[in-house]
């Protein structure tokens, strides 16, 4: 049951999480916000960026902020599925009888860092499929549940492709967001260097527990979505399909395969969280448009024309949004910040 206090709790926690994350992550506000939204919405995140931009640091910092058990798996080509999920081992009990006992792998945690996930073989990558979607692990015919909340935060390097195995479509679809971490700008780089002169460790404090996170997720689910916005979202997702009746020209020209229904689910779920984070109690077109990039960029498969013309997924998404007529927000209102959201709440109280 959402109450006034619950809302205040939501904003307090969000503010705290953001503040703590910004202690470890300089710049990259969109990535930080994306990670927050994904974690509140309960989705997995694929972080893509060149080495050294803070992917692993961000994940470790998230683990600290949310005060949740954190595991890290460094994906390598010789990593086996059992190394991820765990395996049955012959163990002797007190009476000296030998029996198979399941030894839990690193996946049995709340936050799993799958570092350089594309370096593992597809077999090992696929070991995460069940855990990511159903939050369960099945070994030797026996299914084990993972503790909630469970997140997979994977990283991958976009430039070193030798000896890597691109993630299969099925696995990509199970990531709620794909966030791109870019190079910091001049000021951000200077601040990063200064901070890390003191210590290389993450300094973020835990401000949110797993229970808090689950409560925040419940609160976000209550946010209403207007029928117009819902229709627009469905149209946007269908527009990525070149054979769809809603397909835009860009999709027909550059897209080989569009987003799955999981994309539409992800858009609505995360848009609700974003609306609350931005001090609104309803989802706006703006939320859908902003989240279309992290939600759709890894779900849209480009064709050969796009590759030859060096068209990226983000460009295709931009074109689709432009081509859709249901994006009527022309006059930009001042964007509410977290502090503004708090003010709104206090004014109403």
């Amino acid at each position: 049951m959402v109450t006034e206090e619950a809302l205040k709790f939501f904003y307090d926690k969000c503010t705290g999480v953001k503040t703590q994350l910004e202690r470890d992550m300089i710049g990259q506000q969109q990535v930080v916000e994306g990670c927050m939204i994904a974690m509140i919405a309960g989705g997995n995140v694929l972080l893509e960026g060149v080495p050294g931009v803070g992917k692993t640091r961000l994940v470790r910092s998230l683990g600290r902020v949310f005060d949740l058990p954190f595991s890290r798996i460094q994906f390598t080509p010789d990593l086996m599925p059992a190394d991820v999920t765990g395996t049955n081992m012959i163990m002797k009990d007190e009476q000296g009888n030998s029996a198979f006992t399941f030894q839990k792998g690193p996946v049995f945690t709340n936050i799993l860092l799958a570092d350089e996930i594309n370096r593992a073989t597809p077999k090992t990558q696929s070991a995460l499929l069940e855990a990511m979607q159903e939050h369960t692990v099945t070994v030797m015919g026996k299914t084990y549940s993972l503790d909630d909340p469970f997140f997979v935060l994977a990283t991958q390097n976009p430039i070193e492709q030798d000896g890597t195995y691109p993630l299969p479509e099925a696995q990509m679809d199970r990531f709620l967001f794909k966030l791109l971490i870019t190079y910091p700008n001049l000021n951000e780089l200077a601040r990063i260097v200064n901070i890390t002169q003191e210590t290389m460790d993450e300094v973020a404090d835990a401000v949110c527990t797993g229970k808090d996170l689950m409560l925040m997720r419940q609160i976000a689910k209550e946010v209403p979505v207007a029928q117009d916005v819902m229709n627009y979202t469905m149209k946007l997702v269908l527009a990525t399909h070149p054979d769809s009746e809603c397909a835009t020209q860009s999709a027909q020209k550059y897209v080989r395969c569009g987003a799955s229904p999981r994309g539409a689910q992800a858009l609505i779920t995360t848009a609700k969280v974003r609306a609350l984070l931005h001090g609104r109690f309803n989802v706006a077109y703006e939320d859908i448009n902003a989240l279309a990039y992290p939600v759709l960029r890894h779900r849209v498969k480009l064709n050969f024309d796009a590759v030859t013309e060096k068209i990226t997924q983000d460009q295709v998404v931009t074109n689709i949004i432009k081509e859709l007529t249901a994006a009527p927000v022309k006059k930009k209102a001042p964007e509410p910040t977290m502090s503004n959201a708090k003010k709104i709440l206090s004014r109403r109280n």
């Binding site: 309803n282 077109y285 009527p328 006059k331 209102a333 109403r348």
Partner: protein
């Protein structure tokens, strides 16, 4: 919550906008209808006028305005909510209206948030949704309407050509009237006779109308020519005397002198006449001269009348000597004949001028008349052009007149002597009727003039008979079926 009240100020604003949009859209509709009406009127060859186009446009404007207002631009609650959200409310109002029947804490919070934002929003903050095309379309349509009105269509071009040709004919008519008046002005004639000539010219002028066709105009000129010719025939008695005298070879020179109006040669001719005149001839000539005197009196030409009367008296004295007769004839006939020559010359000038103008007008055949003639022509007669048929009809009628004239042995209406009797005069003044091929004419005439080679016309009856006989001869061929034979015979029968 009273959403109607909440959205009232925005609804008024939206209605104003809807009315403006509907008016512009209605204007577009009206202009489209006006353009279409002009085009349709031009296509159906209806002479387009401004008032029906305006009425059509106005009706279209009213209907389109109403339809657009009711069906398209009328603001409902959902439309108003969407427009308000465009003012930066980020779908708050749409969501509020969508969830107006739902309860719950988050919904209430959303509603409060939306209401708070709405209360602080001015209706003017809603961005106007006037699209440039709403203003561009009327301009384009107005240009189209202007072009449709100005640019002549195919029929208009034809109509303007007809008008142009009609104007040329009118100019020719005006020129003719002016020249006729100038001829009468310059003529040395009695005032009464000049008045009669003026009246003929005036009547001719008044008879013309702007709506006249080529045929009507030429017919009116022909009618006036006939009046002039009849006037000439009634006034100029010298020709009658010449005709009478011409029948007797003894008076041939007198007849020629009279016919030619040769006053100087008249004395010599009359001397011969006086020497050889018989009593019978004296009686006839006396009668002719008396009638001439009566005609002259009718014209109030007293001098001329007296002269004819004196001559008649002189001839009427029995057993008068030749010298007395001669004196009287020379004294009395010479002067009237000179006057008759003036009359004849004046009328001949007028007739020549009218003939020339008639031919010129007939040469300007308007396209409209050509079309009418084509429509009237039956399919079997398509090979014959309008001009040919017209000239054929004219030549037929003239040929008939000529035939009648010859059979009655009367002189032509223009006063010239018949061919063979008047000598050189008859040959020089060849009339149109003389060009007609006459099967009964002498062999010499046939040898000297081949009607087909010289471009002359052949009477329709003769051509028809020849064609008919040729067709009947060809029908004897066994390969032609009875049905086809009947059909051809019926065709020729219908043409008879």
């Amino acid at each position: 919550m009273d959403y109607q009240k909440l959205l009232k100020k925005f609804r008024i604003r939206m209605w104003k906008e809807a009315i403006v949009k509907s008016l512009v859209a209605g204007m577009n509709g009206g202009l489209v209808l006006a353009v279409l009406s002009v085009i349709i009127m031009k296509c159906i060859q209806h002479e387009w006028t401004f008032v029906p186009v305006m009425i059509t446009g106005l009706v279209g404007f009213l209907i389109c305005t109403g339809l657009f207002l009711v069906l398209v631009f009328r603001p409902n609650q959902q439309k108003i909510a969407r427009r308000i959200d465009q003012a930066g409310l980020k779908e708050r109002v749409v969501t509020m209206l969508d969830y107006q029947e739902v309860t719950g804490f988050m919904i209430e919070k959303q509603r409060e948030d939306a209401v708070t934002r709405l209360e602080g929003l001015s209706p003017d903050a809603i961005p106007r949704s006037y699209v440039k095309k709403y203003l561009v379309f009327p301009m384009v349509l107005a240009i189209l309407l202007t072009l449709a009105c100005v640019i002549p269509f195919g029929e208009d071009t034809a109509a303007s050509a007809i008008e142009e040709e009609s104007a040329r004919q009118e100019a020719l008519v005006d020129q003719l009237i002016a020249q006729l008046r100038a001829i009468v002005d310059a003529a040395d004639l009695e005032s009464n006779l000049k008045d009669q000539l003026y009246e003929i010219v005036n009547n001719l002028e008044l008879s013309f109308d702007e709506e006249d066709t080529t045929l009507t105009r030429t017919a009116k000129i022909s009618e006036s020519m006939k009046i002039l010719e009849s006037l000439e025939a009634s006034l100029v008695v010298k020709n009658k005397i010449a005709e009478y005298l011409g029948n007797n070879s003894d008076y041939g020179e007198v007849a020629n002198a009279l016919a030619e109006g040769d006053v100087d040669g008249m004395s010599a001719a009359l001397t011969l006449l006086a020497a050889s005149i018989t009593e019978e001839d004296k009686v006839t000539l006396t009668s002719l001269l008396q009638s001439s005197a009566e005609s002259a009196k009718n014209l109030s030409a007293d001098g001329v009348a007296d002269a004819f009367a004196t001559a008649a008296t002189a001839l009427g004295v029995e057993d008068s000597d030749t010298g007395t007769i001669l004196d009287h004839l020379i004294a009395s006939i010479t002067e009237p004949i000179a006057y008759e020559v003036k009359i004849e010359n004046t009328i001949e000038q007028m007739l020549a001028l009218m003939t020339t103008s008639e031919n010129e007008i007939a040469g300007i055949t308007t396209e409209e008349e050509t079309t009418q003639a084509e429509e009237e022509t039956s399919p079997s007669e398509n090979e014959t052009s309008e001009s040919e048929s017209q000239s054929q009809e004219e030549s037929e009628s003239k040929a008939e007149e000529s035939k009648e004239g010859e059979s009655q042995e009367s002189p032509p209406e223009d006063g010239s002597m018949p061919e063979g009797e008047s000598g050189q005069t008859g040959e020089e003044e060849t009339t149109e009727a003389e060009k007609i091929y006459d099967p009964d004419a002498t062999e010499a005439a046939e040898e000297t003039q081949d009607p087909e080679d010289s471009g002359g016309n052949i009477p329709y009856s003769e051509v028809f008979d020849q064609y008919y006989s040729d067709a009947l001869q060809d029908l004897t061929d066994d390969e032609i079926s009875d049905e086809l034979r009947d059909m051809i015979e019926q065709y020729y029968t219908s043409l008879k």
